[in-house]
Symmetry: C2
Subunit: 492 residues, 2 copies
Amino acid sequence: MSKKLIKREENYSEWYNEIVSRADLAENSGVRGCMVIKPYGYAIWEKIQAELDRMFKETGHTNAYFPLFVPKHMFEAEEKNAEGFAKECAVVTHYRLKNDEDNPGKLIVDPEAKLEEELVVRPTSEAIIWSTYKKWIQSYRDLPILINQWANVVRWEMRTRLFLRTAEFLWQEGHTAHATKAEAIEETEKMINVYADFAENFMGIPVIKGFKTAYERFAGALETYCIEALMQDGKALQAGTSHFLGQNFAKAFDVKFTNPEGKIEHVWATSWGVSTRLMGALIMTHSDDQGLVLPPKLAPIQVVIVPIYKGEEQFKIVVDHAKEIQAELKALGISVKLDDDDKRKPGWKFAEYEMKGVPLRIALGQRDIDNGKLEIARRDTQEKKIYNRSELSEIVPKLLEEMQVNLFDKALTFQKEHYTEVNSYDEFKDILESKGGFIAAHWDGTEETELKIKEETKATIRCIPLENKQEEGVCIYSGKPSSQRVLFAKAY
Amino acid sequence: MSKKLIKREENYSEWYNEIVSRADLAENSGVRGCMVIKPYGYAIWEKIQAELDRMFKETGHTNAYFPLFVPKHMFEAEEKNAEGFAKECAVVTHYRLKNDEDNPGKLIVDPEAKLEEELVVRPTSEAIIWSTYKKWIQSYRDLPILINQWANVVRWEMRTRLFLRTAEFLWQEGHTAHATKAEAIEETEKMINVYADFAENFMGIPVIKGFKTAYERFAGALETYCIEALMQDGKALQAGTSHFLGQNFAKAFDVKFTNPEGKIEHVWATSWGVSTRLMGALIMTHSDDQGLVLPPKLAPIQVVIVPIYKGEEQFKIVVDHAKEIQAELKALGISVKLDDDDKRKPGWKFAEYEMKGVPLRIALGQRDIDNGKLEIARRDTQEKKIYNRSELSEIVPKLLEEMQVNLFDKALTFQKEHYTEVNSYDEFKDILESKGGFIAAHWDGTEETELKIKEETKATIRCIPLENKQEEGVCIYSGKPSSQRVLFAKAY
């Protein structure tokens, strides 16, 4: 930890890459577009998983596991979905390698082991799951089915960035089946609310809930609900989506049920997911020019204790005392690391844990022990304060809570400051370049205008906010009438 | 739940298939050799995962995630490993599908999207992980690396069976890097002990720890430690393996470090894994002719309450009381399901939860409430007993504990009864056919004999037990001298 991090204002994109690398979160692998999630990054992902999993189960869902591969005929069954993902699928065509007779020690694909039907590595699992649900559903008594899956998926992206866009990523995908349209819509909305709740109260990321436009919708959905977050460079990031799929997949896979009146109907579907992309949102929402900043609820290490000492005798005394502090905090369910590595200087450790976003740092020396004091530094405000040792069990949970709230409030203030209503295209372009953020503007509702604006400015419609205020206006681009503002932004 | 299960003695293999299906654990998917793990089966797997994960972390390991794909040149780097898995790999050759112009609505592989280098879907991750470790390791200070990964892997098996042998399966794979040979061997042994501890004390499955013969070893390992369990049909099942990989992968991927004396050396490696195969071991160790039997520590539902009632008024009283019981047990950390489905008869529910292996069933009626009594049925012994309602909080945990111990003891007795020492090949063949189980016999140590015996009898050497008794003898097949008995069995 010697060289300083590049500053956000100098090069935001490079700042992001450096944090991912220097906080030991992830790195590029030897496989094009695929990342290695390193232990520290994965520990954060595990916290995300655990909390989401708890929330899914609390809302009546169970986990299951479906195959990685989708046979081509199944993949193409729902046409829009197939069309949407066909251009970016990894395809398995053979099931064996053999020795290359011309190159000893090398292997080649065995042409005799060509599959009769190609297998697509799942880019999403609607197809394989609905081909399975067909076997499970006969009657309304078999409904609803409320299943989630934690899995890896592959989408062959050409330009990849760690966490934000990778060829393989980890995610969860919920797939539910319902007897009525109303129930399916209720589920779709319930899950976007779960995501928003999770993003805001656990990750400290304020989000705007909304609908996607038809153009931005998930391939095969009738309606896509999303949560949109705002990064510090003024660009938006889609952090989670929940899709109302109507009867599209039920029709494609012929999934019908007998309703209580004995009538046969197609089943209604939803699907919803969040991915390791959330790691990117996390990093870009809270971090600063000193490195990663983590909301305490997501921090694998919530408190680090750094002993300050001279000589072996002091070392022993300080470390013994630090162990007592550690035990006291652990008993409160707080994760504490005592860094008693004798080969590293305190200054190095301070920089290291700052880079890694550890919420609280306790520096403990002989004099602190003698005086019954403690120095605690907060990662978010960089504030250092002296507390009485006797207050430890009250002050640490209190500081962690304050920090969790503070990070959310700070991000919310930023989001509000970067929300601008504009009434002309010039104003739109001006705000987009000067300030960024969400731009609320009237739009005529046509894909034509949406695409023109995208082409000319790179801004896309992030969402039509839920319960949007209805107001008369004219489209900033076409001048045609509009009944509501939609949110534009440049996006990740 | 009408038709009875086929009996083990009638058709053991079919009995297994029926339990997997009727207890709702898993099913075959529309993808050759790949299974769907259903919610109830997956809930058991989650219990397995959670406990193993806890044990791995307690022994100093952290989780991380490495890519699904292995580029061919990386895959072939460690020759023995490559040779061992080449015959069963799924190979990705293209990254795009396109519309089939001759068949509207159909897709074909886009020949223009052929990969320059094929990607192997990981059958195991040593190659991709060691190509990564190369970047992480320079000095002895970077060692040890103690990482585990929870992942899916693919091995193109021709004959598949749910959980026991599937093309795609879920597993964990630990991959560690060490500065010395001794330390790597210590790790290998530590992890086989973790597996044995887990199998016996959590899953109630007694295991024998041993070494694999050179022929049965993991491709690329210098030594494979294993735990072997015995199923009720007398066949063995390998339940976990821990490999000492020596410097093979370090040499293949050129992973070196500077030792404390400044000398450059190759790194020492281990890898170890267990998979969803454990589900097969679980089912076949404990279950009976009535269905699945689950050790309480693994049961997603530990207690089910079935209300017995006539009419709506009784229903309400009984269900209210059952809710009190449920709350009381939940407070003790016990998972309880109250099945108050009014559309199903108690008899149907009894059979259903018996099939699903729920450890304890409480049948609760108006008379029980009036008398302050409870009827509790144990799944393992099928014993029903009346207890005082007031004893609930003591008796239920006690019964669950007794059942956990009883299942292990019963399986251990079976294993001991099916362990036979033989001194001739005739006796060997006779025991193999009449009784099965582990057969301890002298072997001359050659692969030739090992393969002959396998060919003639289908029995393989399951392991050379750790700390095996050394005794002079002659090989049952070749008559050549032997210094110890090894364990043969037919195996899954």
